[in-house]
């Protein structure tokens, strides 16, 4: 039994259909519990109640980057092994990633207004997120512009590879370009804990919840794409008959 079995659309549909309700339930439980728990925590002594935006902001920002990485991996699998499910998963993930990026930017702006006194600052982190959004938009636009599905999958995969290199390059170029206002990572494996446990545990829960939420949305969207592909195949057969 290998993971490549799920490259078979029938197998993928059967398995994903079976686990989808559980993923949806898990995502709902984790996200709702985490957000409510986070909302009920006491205010931070300096940031006041605005600290609670973190429970939306950090998971969304984390997922925005992780989804691009997932698209990169899926694109590579498509280019190397030509599994259609992989290409469709990359296609399905892109709009979710773009929405996560927008959530990260908007919640950041809402937090930044009272805390930094500005909605927007050309800070390295903020700017690289804006650049990430541009890459998402370009990727989605290219998918929708090409009619032939296989060419679209190939070209977007190549774009994703080149885009990843340049998104990373922009990330560090931007660091060089302007000094930051954004604080460093609040959670980090190496440097110990810089965040009170009161906020940390709900945050972990919402991060898990957003991960599951992405998985659920991804499965639903990939299943839709596969069904659309089947529908197109049926229609083509109808036309020929």
């Amino acid at each position: 039994m290998s993971i490549w079995e799920y490259a078979n659309p029938v197998k993928f549909m059967r398995t994903s259909g079976a686990i989808l309700p559980w993923v949806v339930a898990g995502a709902a439980i984790c996200t709702v519990t985490g957000l409510v728990w986070g909302f009920l925590t006491s205010d931070d002594y300096r940031q006041g109640s605005t600290v609670k935006i973190v429970f939306l902001h950090v998971p969304a920002a984390m997922m925005a980057i992780n989804i691009w990485v997932m698209m990169l991996v899926a694109s590579l699998i498509w280019l190397v092994r030509r599994h259609h499910v992989s290409a469709l998963a990359a296609k399905a993930a892109a709009p979710i990633g773009a929405v996560m990026t927008v959530i990260g930017l908007i919640t950041g702006a809402v937090w930044g207004q009272p805390m930094w006194g500005t909605w927007w600052e050309w800070d390295p982190r903020l700017t690289s997120f804006l650049i990430l959004l541009l890459f998402y938009i370009g990727y989605i636009a290219l998918w929708s512009a090409i009619e032939d599905p296989d060419s679209a999958a190939d070209l977007t995969a190549v774009l994703c590879l080149v885009g990843s290199v340049f998104a990373l390059l922009s990330r560090y170029a931007v660091l060089f370009w302007n000094q930051g206002l954004h604080q460093g990572a609040s959670l980090s494996v190496q440097s110990g804990e810089r965040m009170s446990a009161v906020y940390r545990y709900p945050l972990y829960l919402t991060m898990l919840g957003f991960g599951l939420l992405f998985l659920a949305l991804l499965l639903v969207r990939t299943r839709t794409e596969i069904r659309k592909r089947r529908l197109a195949a049926l229609q083509a057969r109808e036309m020929r008959a």
């Binding site: 650049i131 541009l134 890459f135 938009i137 370009g138 636009a141 290219l142 512009a145 090409i146 060419s151 190939d154 070209l155 190549v158 774009l159 590879l161 080149v162 885009g163 340049f166 998104a167 390059l169 922009s170 170029a173 931007v174 060089f176 370009w177």
Partner: protein, 218 residues
């Protein structure tokens, strides 16, 4: 390869506006900026590096669709793909031809436009070197974008959406270099970064662009 280069250059010259149009566009942009921000040299000087680089970027962008589109229409791109010359080489040559017809004239004209925008004389060498190092990367990345969108009927807008984000690192280091030249600081760091980006794109992008062309010609 040399024959292909000659052919592309000849086409660019004889089709009209190969060398001139990009520079004319650059001139118009530099002439419009003072209308937008005011003729005060104190206002123009700090933004001059950015304007010059943005102008180079846009002038380059406008001529990108010509790299492959015409050859795709009349079928010579298919011939190129089946010729003994590797498609990667053809892409590199076409990007070089694009650079000679748009990048090089811009570099020659840039000091003049720098003076128009009150760029101090000390920054002119940095301006020339930064454009000399940066514009080949612009042409190369543009060739990649053009290769991706070559089959599309209305690829122009999409092309700019795909290519402009890729230009960000080049733009950052290019303008930073002129700014440091303006302030009399050391330009070594942005220069090395810019050279690194250009060398990397020259080495790797032809493969990506050729892969995209093969997909489009399938």
């Amino acid at each position: 390869m040399i024959a292909l280069l000659k052919r592309d250059l000849r086409l660019a010259v004889r089709a009209g506006g190969g060398f001139g149009l990009g520079v004319a566009f650059f001139l118009i942009l530099c002439a419009l900026v003072p209308f937008g921000v005011g003729p005060d040299s104190g206002a123009l000087r700090p933004i001059a590096p950015g304007i010059l680089w943005l102008g180079a970027l846009l002038a380059c962008l406008l001529s990108l669709d010509r790299i492959f589109a015409l050859d795709h229409e009349d079928g010579s791109l298919d011939l190129l793909a089946t010729s003994p010359l590797p498609l990667e080489g053809a892409v590199a040559v076409k990007a070089l031809a694009h650079w000679i017809t748009t990048g090089l004239p811009l570099i020659v004209a840039a000091p003049l436009f720098g003076i128009l925008l009150h760029l101090p004389g000390a920054a002119i060498p940095a301006l020339i070197v930064s454009l000399l190092l940066g514009t080949p990367a612009l042409s190369m990345l543009g060739a990649f974008g053009a290769a991706v969108t070559v089959g599309l009927r209305r690829g122009g807008l999409l092309l700019s959406l795909l290519v402009l984000p890729l230009y960000i690192p080049t733009l950052i280091f290019g303008t930073e270099m002129i700014r440091r030249g303006q302030e009399g600081g050391s330009i070594a760091t942005p220069l090395l970064f810019l050279a690194g980006i250009t060398a990397g794109t020259l080495a790797l992008i032809p493969f990506a662009a050729a892969a995209a062309l093969r997909i489009n010609l399938r």
